[in-house]
């Protein structure tokens, strides 16, 4: 595995903002490499190589293997995080859609999709029903009722 077992080194290597040095096997902009741009792929890297003072071709095979595995590990962590966040987003969307389709009733008002669209006017939910004379509440329904009463008075 590319990461060190030493906790302080692990954090240093796992930090995408760590400054590349000769010692920590990091490369500048390593997060921008996709899986098709691994070493050996035909596509050119998006970020130029770090100037290693002419020693780019030097180094042990194990060091290069470590670099490769570091990049694979980064891709895997990113993919895992993306999958998890996508799952949570999909679940939240399903919950929202379910609550919208069912609607909810609060204080005699019907809410559908977060918008108040209906007023409970079922006779079974009311008492003291009488022809309109007065109202203690001046809501939309009351305004409509008085408007209709005015129309009935004219006709």
């Amino acid at each position: 595995m590319a990461f060190s077992l030493d906790p302080s080194n692990f954090l240093l290597e796992a930090n995408e903002f760590s400054v590349p040095t000769r010692g920590n096997n990091l490369r500048r902009g390593q997060d921008y490499y996709g899986s098709s741009q691994q070493p050996g792929a035909m596509a050119m890297p998006l970020v130029p190589q770090i100037d290693m003072g002419g020693t780019n071709t030097l180094g042990l095979a194990s060091d290069k293997e470590n670099q490769l595995q570091m990049r694979f590990a980064g891709d895997a962590i990113n993919a895992f995080a993306n999958i998890e966040s996508e799952k949570r987003r999909a679940e939240a969307e399903r919950n929202a859609a379910r609550s919208e389709s069912q609607g909810s009733m609060i204080g005699g008002l019907l809410s559908l999709g977060g918008t108040l669209i209906g007023a409970l006017c079922d006779e079974r939910a009311k008492e003291d029903i009488a022809p309109l004379q007065t109202s203690e509440v001046n809501d939309d329904l009351a305004q409509m009722a008085f408007a209709v009463q005015e129309i009935r008075g004219h006709s």
């Binding site: 009733m105 007023a119 009311k126 939309d140 009351a142 408007a147």
Partner: protein
């Protein structure tokens, strides 16, 4: 002076809506205590009566009838002219 067919149709539609709106019977009522703990006196309509005149302005949810305020409001606005 002649009235165009389109204008005639609009007038007929206006009169029709106004007659139907005039059939609505505004009421005053109080909700049951579990819906409105203060039981204020409110103005409105009976959804059962509205459904006979404007079926498209009434919604049924969980066995109860609700008035779609946007639809009924549109009819009343049209009737006021």
């Amino acid at each position: 002076m002649t009235i165009s067919p389109k204008w005639h149709l609009l007038c007929k539609r206006f009169v029709d809506i106004r007659n139907r709106v005039a059939q609505l019977q505004p009421i005053q009522f109080r909700y049951h205590k579990d819906i409105d703990p203060e039981q204020k006196l409110r103005a409105g309509f009976s959804a059962q009566q509205v459904a006979q005149i404007f079926p498209d302005a009434v919604i049924e949810r969980d066995g109860y009838l609700f008035i779609n305020k946007a639809v009924l409001g549109g009819y009343i606005k049209a009737a006021k002219g």
